[in-house]
Protein backbone atom coordinates (compact mmCIF):
# COMPACT_ATOMS: atom_id res chain seq x y z
CA UNK A 1 0.00 0.00 0.00
CA UNK A 2 1.35 3.43 -0.81
CA UNK A 3 2.11 6.13 1.75
CA UNK A 4 -0.87 8.25 0.74
CA UNK A 5 -3.28 5.37 1.35
CA UNK A 6 -1.65 4.51 4.68
CA UNK A 7 -2.05 8.02 6.09
CA UNK A 8 -5.58 8.46 4.71
CA UNK A 9 -6.80 5.16 6.18
CA UNK A 10 -5.22 5.97 9.55
CA UNK A 11 -6.67 9.49 9.67
CA UNK A 12 -10.15 8.48 8.53
CA UNK A 13 -10.19 5.63 11.04
CA UNK A 14 -9.22 8.00 13.86
CA UNK A 15 -11.72 10.63 12.71
CA UNK A 16 -14.61 8.18 12.68
CA UNK A 17 -13.99 6.89 16.19
CA UNK A 18 -16.28 7.89 19.03
CA UNK A 19 -17.87 11.35 19.18
CA UNK A 20 -15.60 12.79 16.56
CA UNK A 21 -15.32 15.98 14.56
CA UNK A 22 -17.31 14.23 11.85
CA UNK A 23 -20.31 13.72 14.13
CA UNK A 24 -20.11 17.30 15.35
CA UNK A 25 -19.93 18.57 11.77
CA UNK A 26 -23.16 16.76 10.90
CA UNK A 27 -24.96 18.14 13.96
CA UNK A 28 -23.62 21.61 13.15
CA UNK A 29 -24.90 21.39 9.56
CA UNK A 30 -28.42 20.53 10.67
CA UNK A 31 -28.45 23.07 13.50
CA UNK A 32 -27.15 25.94 11.37
CA UNK A 33 -29.64 25.26 8.57
CA UNK A 34 -32.51 25.06 11.03
CA UNK A 35 -31.45 28.30 12.70
CA UNK A 36 -31.32 30.06 9.34
CA UNK A 37 -34.83 28.80 8.65
CA UNK A 38 -36.13 30.07 12.00
CA UNK A 39 -34.63 33.51 11.41
CA UNK A 40 -35.96 33.80 7.83
CA UNK A 41 -39.49 32.68 8.73
CA UNK A 42 -42.09 30.59 6.88
CA UNK A 43 -41.97 32.55 3.60
CA UNK A 44 -41.49 29.67 1.12
CA UNK A 45 -40.48 31.93 -1.79
CA UNK A 46 -37.82 33.62 0.30
CA UNK A 47 -36.54 30.28 1.60
CA UNK A 48 -36.16 29.07 -1.98
CA UNK A 49 -34.35 32.24 -2.94
CA UNK A 50 -31.76 32.10 -0.16
CA UNK A 51 -31.55 28.29 0.06
CA UNK A 52 -28.62 27.88 -2.33
CA UNK A 53 -26.54 30.51 -0.60
CA UNK A 54 -27.36 29.13 2.85
CA UNK A 55 -26.23 25.64 1.85
CA UNK A 56 -22.86 26.95 0.67
CA UNK A 57 -22.33 29.22 3.70
CA UNK A 58 -23.14 26.36 6.08
CA UNK A 59 -20.87 23.98 4.12
CA UNK A 60 -18.09 26.48 4.40
CA UNK A 61 -18.57 27.00 8.15
CA UNK A 62 -18.80 23.24 8.74
CA UNK A 63 -15.49 22.82 6.93
CA UNK A 64 -13.82 25.41 9.15
CA UNK A 65 -15.26 23.81 12.29
CA UNK A 66 -13.34 20.59 11.72
CA UNK A 67 -10.08 22.23 10.61
CA UNK A 68 -8.76 23.59 13.88
CA UNK A 69 -7.58 20.23 15.19
CA UNK A 70 -6.47 18.87 11.83
CA UNK A 71 -2.73 19.00 12.59
CA UNK A 72 -2.69 19.75 16.33
CA UNK A 73 -2.52 16.15 17.57
CA UNK A 74 0.13 15.22 15.01
CA UNK A 75 2.08 18.33 15.98
CA UNK A 76 1.88 17.74 19.72
CA UNK A 77 2.65 14.01 19.76
CA UNK A 78 5.63 14.26 17.41
CA UNK A 79 3.96 12.58 14.43
CA UNK A 80 4.75 15.54 12.17
CA UNK A 81 8.45 15.27 13.06
CA UNK A 82 8.37 11.60 12.08
CA UNK A 83 6.66 12.45 8.79
CA UNK A 84 9.41 14.99 8.14
CA UNK A 85 12.10 12.35 8.70
CA UNK A 86 10.37 9.67 6.64
CA UNK A 87 11.52 8.94 3.08
CA UNK A 88 8.32 10.60 1.81
CA UNK A 89 7.94 14.31 1.08
CA UNK A 90 5.73 16.36 3.41
CA UNK A 91 3.72 17.28 0.29
CA UNK A 92 2.30 13.73 0.25
CA UNK A 93 1.23 14.07 3.87
CA UNK A 94 -0.38 17.43 3.07
CA UNK A 95 -2.32 15.81 0.22
CA UNK A 96 -3.28 12.87 2.45
CA UNK A 97 -4.54 15.24 5.16
CA UNK A 98 -6.65 17.19 2.67
CA UNK A 99 -8.16 13.98 1.28
CA UNK A 100 -8.86 12.63 4.80
CA UNK A 101 -10.51 15.92 5.71
CA UNK A 102 -12.64 15.82 2.58
CA UNK A 103 -13.66 12.20 3.21
CA UNK A 104 -14.76 12.93 6.77
CA UNK A 105 -16.25 16.41 6.25
CA UNK A 106 -16.70 17.28 2.57
CA UNK A 107 -18.41 14.00 1.73
CA UNK A 108 -20.75 14.49 4.69
CA UNK A 109 -21.61 17.98 3.42
CA UNK A 110 -22.34 16.58 -0.06
CA UNK A 111 -24.60 13.85 1.35
CA UNK A 112 -26.41 16.37 3.57
CA UNK A 113 -26.88 18.99 0.83
CA UNK A 114 -29.98 17.44 -0.86
CA UNK A 115 -31.57 17.00 2.58
CA UNK A 116 -30.99 20.67 3.36
CA UNK A 117 -32.32 21.56 -0.09
CA UNK A 118 -35.60 19.80 0.81
CA UNK A 119 -35.75 21.79 4.07
CA UNK A 120 -35.51 24.98 2.02
CA UNK A 121 -38.14 23.84 -0.44
CA UNK A 122 -35.69 23.91 -3.35
CA UNK A 123 -36.94 22.19 -6.54
CA UNK A 124 -35.69 18.68 -7.24
CA UNK A 125 -34.14 19.86 -10.56
CA UNK A 126 -31.35 21.56 -8.65
CA UNK A 127 -30.25 18.40 -6.81
CA UNK A 128 -27.87 17.28 -9.56
CA UNK A 129 -26.15 20.68 -10.06
CA UNK A 130 -26.08 21.14 -6.28
CA UNK A 131 -24.30 17.81 -5.72
CA UNK A 132 -22.01 18.41 -8.71
CA UNK A 133 -20.96 21.87 -7.50
CA UNK A 134 -20.44 20.51 -4.00
CA UNK A 135 -18.45 17.60 -5.38
CA UNK A 136 -16.07 20.01 -7.09
CA UNK A 137 -16.19 22.79 -4.49
CA UNK A 138 -15.73 20.94 -1.21
CA UNK A 139 -12.27 19.54 -2.12
CA UNK A 140 -11.21 23.16 -2.73
CA UNK A 141 -12.47 24.02 0.77
CA UNK A 142 -10.48 21.11 2.24
CA UNK A 143 -7.28 22.00 0.34
CA UNK A 144 -7.41 25.69 1.33
CA UNK A 145 -8.47 24.74 4.87
CA UNK A 146 -5.53 22.37 5.23
CA UNK A 147 -3.22 25.22 4.26
CA UNK A 148 -4.89 27.52 6.81
CA UNK A 149 -4.57 24.88 9.54
CA UNK A 150 -0.87 24.42 8.73
CA UNK A 151 -0.17 28.16 8.64
CA UNK A 152 -1.67 28.70 12.09
CA UNK A 153 -0.16 25.56 13.63
CA UNK A 154 1.58 26.41 16.87
CA UNK A 155 0.20 29.94 16.90
CA UNK A 156 -1.68 31.10 19.94
CA UNK A 157 -5.33 31.87 19.11
CA UNK A 158 -5.10 29.74 15.99
CA UNK A 159 -8.85 29.15 16.19
CA UNK A 160 -9.46 32.85 15.58
CA UNK A 161 -6.59 33.40 13.18
CA UNK A 162 -7.36 30.52 10.83
CA UNK A 163 -10.84 31.68 9.69
CA UNK A 164 -9.42 35.17 9.12
CA UNK A 165 -6.84 33.69 6.76
CA UNK A 166 -8.98 31.20 4.88
CA UNK A 167 -12.43 32.85 4.70
CA UNK A 168 -11.33 35.41 2.05
CA UNK A 169 -9.87 32.53 0.01
CA UNK A 170 -13.23 30.72 0.18
CA UNK A 171 -15.12 33.62 -1.44
CA UNK A 172 -14.68 32.52 -5.11
CA UNK A 173 -15.94 29.01 -4.28
CA UNK A 174 -18.91 30.49 -2.41
CA UNK A 175 -19.82 32.81 -5.30
CA UNK A 176 -19.53 30.26 -8.10
CA UNK A 177 -21.03 27.43 -6.03
CA UNK A 178 -24.10 29.50 -5.16
CA UNK A 179 -24.41 30.74 -8.76
CA UNK A 180 -24.60 27.15 -10.00
CA UNK A 181 -27.67 26.57 -7.82
CA UNK A 182 -29.33 29.86 -8.80
CA UNK A 183 -28.75 29.31 -12.51
CA UNK A 184 -30.14 25.76 -12.24
CA UNK A 185 -33.16 27.01 -10.30
CA UNK A 186 -34.04 29.62 -12.93
CA UNK A 187 -33.34 27.34 -15.88
CA UNK A 188 -30.07 28.96 -17.01
CA UNK A 189 -26.98 27.05 -18.08
CA UNK A 190 -24.53 26.36 -15.29
CA UNK A 191 -21.88 24.40 -17.19
CA UNK A 192 -19.49 27.33 -17.50
CA UNK A 193 -19.73 27.91 -13.74
CA UNK A 194 -18.87 24.28 -13.08
CA UNK A 195 -15.88 24.72 -15.40
CA UNK A 196 -14.73 27.70 -13.35
CA UNK A 197 -15.02 25.59 -10.20
CA UNK A 198 -13.01 22.80 -11.87
CA UNK A 199 -10.38 25.40 -12.80
CA UNK A 200 -10.24 26.58 -9.19
CA UNK A 201 -9.90 22.97 -8.03
CA UNK A 202 -6.99 22.36 -10.41
CA UNK A 203 -5.17 25.53 -9.33
CA UNK A 204 -5.73 24.78 -5.65
CA UNK A 205 -4.64 21.14 -6.05
CA UNK A 206 -1.44 22.26 -7.73
CA UNK A 207 -0.49 24.94 -5.21
CA UNK A 208 -2.05 24.22 -1.81
CA UNK A 209 -0.20 20.98 -0.91
CA UNK A 210 3.20 22.60 -1.56
CA UNK A 211 2.30 25.65 0.49
CA UNK A 212 0.90 23.40 3.26
CA UNK A 213 4.09 21.33 3.31
CA UNK A 214 6.17 24.50 3.58
CA UNK A 215 4.00 25.77 6.45
CA UNK A 216 4.32 22.42 8.25
CA UNK A 217 8.08 22.57 7.79
CA UNK A 218 8.11 25.99 9.46
CA UNK A 219 5.89 24.73 12.30
CA UNK A 220 8.27 21.84 13.03
CA UNK A 221 11.19 24.28 13.25
Amino acid sequence: MNYLGLVIIKDVKLALQGVSDTGMTFVFLLLACTLFQFSIGPDQALLMKVGGGVIWVVALLATILSLERLFITDFEDGTLEQYFLSPVSLVFFAIAKAISHWLTTGLLVIISAPLIAVLYNLPSEIFLPLVLSMFIGTPILSLIGTLGAALTLGASRSGVLMPLIILPLYVPVLIFGSLVIYNAMYGHSYNSLLMVLIGLLLITSALAPWATAYALRQAIE
Partner: protein, 214 residues
Protein backbone atom coordinates in the same frame (compact mmCIF):
# COMPACT_ATOMS: atom_id res chain seq x y z
CA UNK B 1 37.06 6.60 7.70
CA UNK B 2 33.45 7.70 7.34
CA UNK B 3 32.14 9.86 10.14
CA UNK B 4 29.51 12.41 10.98
CA UNK B 5 31.37 15.65 11.60
CA UNK B 6 29.76 18.32 13.73
CA UNK B 7 31.79 21.48 13.34
CA UNK B 8 31.56 24.56 15.51
CA UNK B 9 27.78 24.53 15.92
CA UNK B 10 26.02 27.49 17.47
CA UNK B 11 22.35 27.72 18.31
CA UNK B 12 20.46 30.91 19.09
CA UNK B 13 16.79 30.90 20.03
CA UNK B 14 14.75 34.04 20.61
CA UNK B 15 17.88 36.16 20.81
CA UNK B 16 19.51 33.87 23.41
CA UNK B 17 22.59 31.77 22.75
CA UNK B 18 21.76 28.20 23.75
CA UNK B 19 25.20 26.78 22.94
CA UNK B 20 28.21 27.69 20.87
CA UNK B 21 31.39 26.02 19.62
CA UNK B 22 30.02 22.50 19.67
CA UNK B 23 32.29 20.19 17.66
CA UNK B 24 32.60 16.41 17.69
CA UNK B 25 32.69 13.43 15.35
CA UNK B 26 30.53 10.34 15.48
CA UNK B 27 31.86 7.29 13.70
CA UNK B 28 29.92 4.16 12.75
CA UNK B 29 30.02 1.65 15.56
CA UNK B 30 30.05 4.26 18.30
CA UNK B 31 27.53 5.76 20.72
CA UNK B 32 27.77 9.35 21.90
CA UNK B 33 26.17 10.13 25.24
CA UNK B 34 25.16 13.76 25.41
CA UNK B 35 24.93 15.25 28.86
CA UNK B 36 24.21 18.69 30.25
CA UNK B 37 22.01 20.61 32.62
CA UNK B 38 18.42 21.56 31.81
CA UNK B 39 18.51 24.27 29.16
CA UNK B 40 22.03 23.45 28.01
CA UNK B 41 20.70 22.66 24.51
CA UNK B 42 20.69 18.86 24.30
CA UNK B 43 17.27 18.78 22.65
CA UNK B 44 18.15 21.71 20.35
CA UNK B 45 21.33 19.94 19.27
CA UNK B 46 19.47 16.71 18.49
CA UNK B 47 16.80 18.66 16.61
CA UNK B 48 19.49 20.38 14.54
CA UNK B 49 21.07 17.01 13.74
CA UNK B 50 17.65 15.65 12.75
CA UNK B 51 17.22 18.60 10.39
CA UNK B 52 14.20 20.07 12.14
CA UNK B 53 15.93 23.42 12.48
CA UNK B 54 19.10 24.94 11.08
CA UNK B 55 22.05 25.86 13.29
CA UNK B 56 22.84 29.56 13.64
CA UNK B 57 26.38 28.84 12.51
CA UNK B 58 28.48 25.73 11.95
CA UNK B 59 27.91 22.62 9.91
CA UNK B 60 26.94 18.97 10.11
CA UNK B 61 28.51 16.98 7.30
CA UNK B 62 28.83 13.37 6.17
CA UNK B 63 31.66 12.94 3.66
CA UNK B 64 31.43 16.60 2.56
CA UNK B 65 27.65 16.39 2.09
CA UNK B 66 25.33 18.54 4.14
CA UNK B 67 23.84 15.99 6.53
CA UNK B 68 20.36 17.49 6.77
CA UNK B 69 19.83 17.81 3.00
CA UNK B 70 16.83 15.55 2.41
CA UNK B 71 17.44 15.55 -1.35
CA UNK B 72 20.73 13.70 -0.79
CA UNK B 73 20.05 10.00 -0.94
CA UNK B 74 23.66 9.09 -0.14
CA UNK B 75 23.33 9.95 3.52
CA UNK B 76 22.73 7.79 6.57
CA UNK B 77 19.08 7.54 7.55
CA UNK B 78 17.97 9.14 10.80
CA UNK B 79 15.72 7.61 13.43
CA UNK B 80 14.71 10.29 15.92
CA UNK B 81 12.85 9.71 19.16
CA UNK B 82 12.05 12.91 21.00
CA UNK B 83 10.28 13.66 24.25
CA UNK B 84 6.81 12.98 22.89
CA UNK B 85 5.40 9.64 21.83
CA UNK B 86 3.93 9.56 18.31
CA UNK B 87 1.31 7.08 19.40
CA UNK B 88 -2.26 7.31 18.09
CA UNK B 89 -4.53 6.50 20.99
CA UNK B 90 -7.41 5.39 18.76
CA UNK B 91 -5.32 2.72 17.03
CA UNK B 92 -4.30 -0.55 18.59
CA UNK B 93 -0.75 -1.02 19.84
CA UNK B 94 0.08 -3.24 16.87
CA UNK B 95 -1.57 -0.89 14.33
CA UNK B 96 0.57 1.96 15.64
CA UNK B 97 3.80 0.07 15.13
CA UNK B 98 2.74 -1.35 11.76
CA UNK B 99 1.95 2.19 10.57
CA UNK B 100 5.44 3.48 11.36
CA UNK B 101 7.08 0.31 10.04
CA UNK B 102 5.38 0.84 6.68
CA UNK B 103 6.05 4.59 6.53
CA UNK B 104 9.78 4.10 7.21
CA UNK B 105 10.11 0.95 5.12
CA UNK B 106 11.09 -1.32 8.00
CA UNK B 107 10.82 -5.00 7.36
CA UNK B 108 8.68 -7.38 9.30
CA UNK B 109 9.22 -8.07 12.96
CA UNK B 110 6.41 -6.06 14.53
CA UNK B 111 5.36 -8.86 16.88
CA UNK B 112 8.96 -9.54 17.88
CA UNK B 113 9.55 -5.83 18.52
CA UNK B 114 6.48 -5.60 20.75
CA UNK B 115 7.60 -8.75 22.53
CA UNK B 116 11.06 -7.34 23.15
CA UNK B 117 9.55 -4.36 24.94
CA UNK B 118 7.10 -6.50 26.88
CA UNK B 119 3.89 -5.15 25.36
CA UNK B 120 2.98 -7.98 22.98
CA UNK B 121 0.16 -9.06 25.30
CA UNK B 122 -1.43 -5.62 24.68
CA UNK B 123 -0.95 -5.70 20.90
CA UNK B 124 -4.67 -5.78 20.07
CA UNK B 125 -5.86 -3.19 22.60
CA UNK B 126 -6.18 0.53 21.81
CA UNK B 127 -3.06 2.49 22.72
CA UNK B 128 -5.24 4.69 24.95
CA UNK B 129 -5.30 1.78 27.44
CA UNK B 130 -1.53 1.95 27.91
CA UNK B 131 0.23 3.77 30.71
CA UNK B 132 2.73 6.53 29.87
CA UNK B 133 5.61 4.12 30.39
CA UNK B 134 4.01 1.55 28.08
CA UNK B 135 3.46 4.23 25.43
CA UNK B 136 7.15 5.03 25.69
CA UNK B 137 7.92 1.34 25.23
CA UNK B 138 5.70 1.32 22.13
CA UNK B 139 7.56 4.35 20.72
CA UNK B 140 10.92 2.71 21.37
CA UNK B 141 9.75 -0.58 19.85
CA UNK B 142 10.50 1.04 16.48
CA UNK B 143 14.18 0.57 17.33
CA UNK B 144 13.63 -3.18 17.49
CA UNK B 145 12.11 -3.43 14.02
CA UNK B 146 14.17 -4.88 11.18
CA UNK B 147 15.99 -1.91 9.71
CA UNK B 148 15.66 -1.06 6.00
CA UNK B 149 18.46 -2.63 3.97
CA UNK B 150 21.02 0.04 3.21
CA UNK B 151 24.74 0.21 2.58
CA UNK B 152 24.92 3.26 4.83
CA UNK B 153 24.90 3.24 8.61
CA UNK B 154 21.82 4.71 10.25
CA UNK B 155 21.91 7.30 12.99
CA UNK B 156 19.72 7.05 16.06
CA UNK B 157 18.98 10.33 17.82
CA UNK B 158 17.38 9.56 21.15
CA UNK B 159 16.32 12.43 23.39
CA UNK B 160 16.10 11.26 27.00
CA UNK B 161 14.70 7.90 25.84
CA UNK B 162 14.52 6.37 29.32
CA UNK B 163 11.91 8.83 30.58
CA UNK B 164 9.11 6.82 32.17
CA UNK B 165 10.83 3.47 31.59
CA UNK B 166 11.38 0.79 34.21
CA UNK B 167 14.86 -0.82 34.56
CA UNK B 168 13.85 -3.85 32.51
CA UNK B 169 12.91 -1.66 29.52
CA UNK B 170 16.09 0.41 29.95
CA UNK B 171 18.09 -2.81 29.72
CA UNK B 172 16.24 -3.77 26.51
CA UNK B 173 16.96 -0.31 25.08
CA UNK B 174 20.66 -0.53 25.93
CA UNK B 175 20.93 -4.01 24.35
CA UNK B 176 19.27 -2.75 21.17
CA UNK B 177 21.58 0.27 21.01
CA UNK B 178 24.66 -1.92 21.45
CA UNK B 179 23.41 -4.29 18.71
CA UNK B 180 22.75 -1.30 16.47
CA UNK B 181 26.29 0.06 16.75
CA UNK B 182 27.76 -3.45 16.41
CA UNK B 183 26.12 -3.41 12.96
CA UNK B 184 28.02 -0.18 12.20
CA UNK B 185 25.14 2.08 13.22
CA UNK B 186 25.61 5.35 15.11
CA UNK B 187 23.71 6.68 18.10
CA UNK B 188 23.60 10.01 19.89
CA UNK B 189 21.66 9.83 23.14
CA UNK B 190 20.90 12.65 25.52
CA UNK B 191 20.74 11.49 29.12
CA UNK B 192 20.65 12.79 32.66
CA UNK B 193 22.93 10.15 34.10
CA UNK B 194 20.41 7.32 34.09
CA UNK B 195 21.26 3.65 34.39
CA UNK B 196 21.41 3.61 30.59
CA UNK B 197 24.76 5.46 30.90
CA UNK B 198 26.12 2.61 32.99
CA UNK B 199 24.93 -0.06 30.57
CA UNK B 200 26.47 1.80 27.62
CA UNK B 201 29.62 3.01 29.37
CA UNK B 202 32.01 0.61 27.66
CA UNK B 203 30.85 1.32 24.13
CA UNK B 204 30.20 5.04 24.24
CA UNK B 205 31.93 8.41 24.11
CA UNK B 206 30.68 11.38 26.08
CA UNK B 207 30.06 15.01 25.27
CA UNK B 208 28.92 17.54 27.83
CA UNK B 209 27.06 20.67 26.81
CA UNK B 210 27.18 22.13 30.29
CA UNK B 211 30.43 23.95 29.65
CA UNK B 212 28.82 25.78 26.76
CA UNK B 213 25.76 27.00 28.64
CA UNK B 214 25.06 30.74 28.61
Amino acid sequence: MQSLKIKNLECNRNGRTIFTGVSFDVTPGRILLLSGKNGSGKTSLLRILAGFMPPTTGSVVWEDKKFTDKRQRELPSVLYIGHSNPVKLGLTVKENLIFWAKIFGHGTGVDAALDQFGISNHSEVPASYLSEGQRRRLTLARLALDQPISALPSLWLLDEPTWGLDPEAVKTLSNLTIDHVKNQGMAIISTHGSILDKYLASSSDRYSLTENIF
